[in-house]
Symmetry: C2
Subunit: 180 residues, 2 copies
């Protein structure tokens, strides 16, 4: 018989996500190398699930979404040659970008037109409504960023960026041919 403490009814935002560990997990039982800590992929995934969800919720309050915000951000940060490049910048596949752009176009936030110089490429540009939406989303994103970094020194953020970059590089490097 296992005693289980349930989510209290009075708890604000009784969101069970990621809050289930009432007993201390001992991952060393399953993963001898981990020293009792959850493995890195699990920690990363857990944090990102929670952060991304909160970010999405915040953007949704002004009618946006994470993908929409990343698209706006890439479009405004520098001119993009084509959708393929935009997709890479945003971190999604071209097919996925198509869906988002179609939705944004139907919502009147962007225009797509063929480049006269190379009619294969579709040029993406913001409409006035798109500019207005961008500003609203930016406000929410900036507020979220402030909240996210609260109590974390800038040095730690820098360190975080470095370590994440290293993890990303380590994950993708091919062990077959590291030396040419």
């Amino acid at each position: 018989m296992v005693a289980v403490t349930r989510d209290a009814a009075w708890a604000p935002r009784s969101d069970a996500r990621m809050s289930g560990a009432r007993h201390k997990m001992r991952y060393s039982r399953a993963m001898p190398a981990a020293g009792g800590e959850p493995p890195i992929p699990k920690v990363l995934w857990g944090t990102v699930s929670v952060v991304a969800r909160a970010f999405d919720d915040a953007l949704a309050t002004v009618g946006g979404s994470r993908a929409m915000w990343f698209i706006f951000l890439s479009l405004k940060a520098r001119p993009v040659a084509n959708q393929r490049e935009l997709a890479a910048e945003v971190g999604i596949q071209g097919a996925t970008l198509t869906h988002h752009l179609t939705a944004m176009e139907q919502a009147g936030l962007i225009n797509r037109r063929r480049d006269p110089a190379n009619r294969r490429v579709h040029l993406v540009e913001l409409t006035p409504a798109g500019e207005a939406t961008f500003l609203k989303l930016r406000e929410v994103a900036l507020a979220f960023d402030r909240k996210l970094r609260e109590g974390i020194p800038d040095d730690d953020i820098r360190h975080l960026r470095q370590t994440l970059a290293r993890l990303q590089a380590n994950a993708t490097d091919d062990p077959a041919a590291p030396t040419p």
Copy 2:
């Protein structure tokens, strides 16, 4: 006219994901507060997309997946009272867990049976085939962990865990009622 360098045909694993930034992005143009660096949510999302994909690919080579591995991991790390608790541990919703467990049951990796003491509860237990699969997945997961941490001092990993935990807490804390 924008000059665009295309993916070279000779590049190994010409996966465009997250590799599109040939020009240095200046996010300060769009996000004045960021100091030219991409905002934290974007960095997090980018790193996790890449790492999770690589991890999934690795697990797929022995017939597994990220979700399956997390489920095994939680089941082996300590006994779990019920599926709701297991879902929280894994970091997914109960409905999603049901799908995975159904698939794993059909694959002969686990059994689900009603708890005689409380017939609402479905107890999950590994079959011998499940134990064997767990060992194979663990091997892959340990190798991936080693690869992921290559060149990163343990102190940095500890630091990473701490910062991620803080980000997670900051993301979810309710600004409405921080003080009771």
